[in-house]
Subunit: 376 residues, 2 copies
Amino acid sequence: MPAAEALLIVAASEQSADLYYATRFLAPDAFIFTQIDGRKILIMSDLEIDRAKEQSSADEIISYSSLQSEAKKKTGGPVGMAGVLDHFYKTRGVASISVPPSFPVAMADALREKGYSLTAGKEPFFPQRMVKRPDEVAAIRETIKATEDAIKTAIDLITQSEIHGDELWLRGRPLTSELVRKTMHLSMMGDDCLAKETIVAGGLQACDPHCIGFGPLKAHWPIVLDVFPVSTRSHYYADITRTIVKGKPSEKAKTMYRMVREGQEIAFGMLKPGVDGKAAHDAILKHFEKNGFKTGLIDGRMQGFFHGTGHGLGLEIHEAPRVGGVSDILQEGQVVTVEPGLYYLDAGGIRIEDDVLITKTGCEILSTFPRVFELG
Amino acid sequence: MPAAEALLIVAASEQSADLYYATRFLAPDAFIFTQIDGRKILIMSDLEIDRAKEQSSADEIISYSSLQSEAKKKTGGPVGMAGVLDHFYKTRGVASISVPPSFPVAMADALREKGYSLTAGKEPFFPQRMVKRPDEVAAIRETIKATEDAIKTAIDLITQSEIHGDELWLRGRPLTSELVRKTMHLSMMGDDCLAKETIVAGGLQACDPHCIGFGPLKAHWPIVLDVFPVSTRSHYYADITRTIVKGKPSEKAKTMYRMVREGQEIAFGMLKPGVDGKAAHDAILKHFEKNGFKTGLIDGRMQGFFHGTGHGLGLEIHEAPRVGGVSDILQEGQVVTVEPGLYYLDAGGIRIEDDVLITKTGCEILSTFPRVFELG
């Protein structure tokens, strides 16, 4: 029997998008997926085997405990997961194994010790995951719809608020990041979408792009709403950001908003198959620099535009390709975010983010929510 | 300079409870944590460095991009994460590295290639994570409270339902798993808890312990409610299951319920420091067997009691120790679930789950929700 090569993933598919992609089976605990000559095989615990038979897209499903009993009979001693795999691979003539870069080192070491040639592949482990099929694009569009509905509820709340001193108040109380976040989460839950760490950050909090925001929202300062739920039906993400202000924004904030919008348009004009995402990112940075909006350490804090322009979107919120400081050539069918931002301690944070599909000749903006800055 | 040993974790703390435990810093993308001579060091991207300085419990926070620039000057070529780590470890005299078993094999291989001795530790990587401090127990209690409130809303809905044929109806429509699940999710969201894949499974669906349930709920058959949210404030989980029936349960289901309750009591009586969780698990299995409730393949399906009795609970929903088929000696301060179950295709599924704290002399049941089976 010629030595076959196997792909191997050991992970919980709730945490591994590669594994969910390969199996369409969602489980909270680690299980074994291996592919030999294009044939998808699952080795499942007693707890999950019947559900896997019903729900997964695998070609063959084998009982972990049966393999373990067989292996124990041979060796006489206790048999762990590497021993179970060893027993199984021997029956299939497998000698070399290809794993994702994130494969657990302890399991890799155990298999190498048993004589297997094990090599880590590159991300993305399934490059075809980057290129979305029509049903995947449709799933992303559906999550985008739920995301936009949630952003609308947030903007409605903030529009209804009144300015008391330098704070926004609603129905006699300060309007907080927490309340706006919870209102959006409820809206998304109604659409079978799960959101966490949704960003509602105003004032200086918005200068930190990953600060989720807390406490009373400030009048006259930009408020960043960055919303990125996953659909509990399809498991595909969306990721949209709007920045709005209630009251009178500073001249600098207004110019920053215009800059960031222009940055988006630069990317929309450039993104198409064969183009390097880095070129779009560099063009935006250059546009900002040329207009006096520098990036780097200022007064000991990172300011300007110090994150990537965008990232792939799908079964993960951040996946390949990247549109940022590292080269990555775009392909038709990829879905990426376009989210330039500018952050300065004297004016706050501005970020605008839309999701685009790379088409044959350019890109199609999938998100349609209006970009408004100053609320009435 | 003597060669130091470093602990190293490279992960996204939103996915790695070990990393969150060590840093108290939540981030969606992978970052570097290393501990040298007890000193906790973070190496952070420009995007996260300022938030890490504010929020993390690290002793030292270093800029990834600064290290990368220094390393590039030395080597002249591009420098990836392993190169950045190599540059950093050289300045600190580190030659050997200890990583968690789940550490990514590609990064491990890259560091070994650069001459480091890298060894994978065992789970749990931080054994002290198993033993909960009083503030951690308090956090779990708070999540338990939210979980119990949600179970109450579910049981209220099912109690209010009426029996139409063999289905439960509420307000003129079938009462579905989906509606009960959504009602519980809304309740938990109100308590700042995030739940997904909450199980509301009746009829034959409940025979598969991880089937989340779908469609109209059945009268006269047991309905499993297994609820395991995480607090978005504290990040600690709870995990509670109740099984109820609306209508007239079969005699077999009633006996199964009594068996499972007795199984719980067997565990409550045995769990204390120094006891092997496996002994409690085996005692429950034996009790079931003795009363005619066998476990194994029946008609090609796993039936009986074919999952563990319990698992540790904390920053992860499933963590060490286990109370199941593998030996694991309990310690004071651990929090574990006690969740025996019985599943037969001719009677449905029954599972009852509570969360207990191992005390000096026994265990304290943290969950207080009443165990009712037949609803009025």
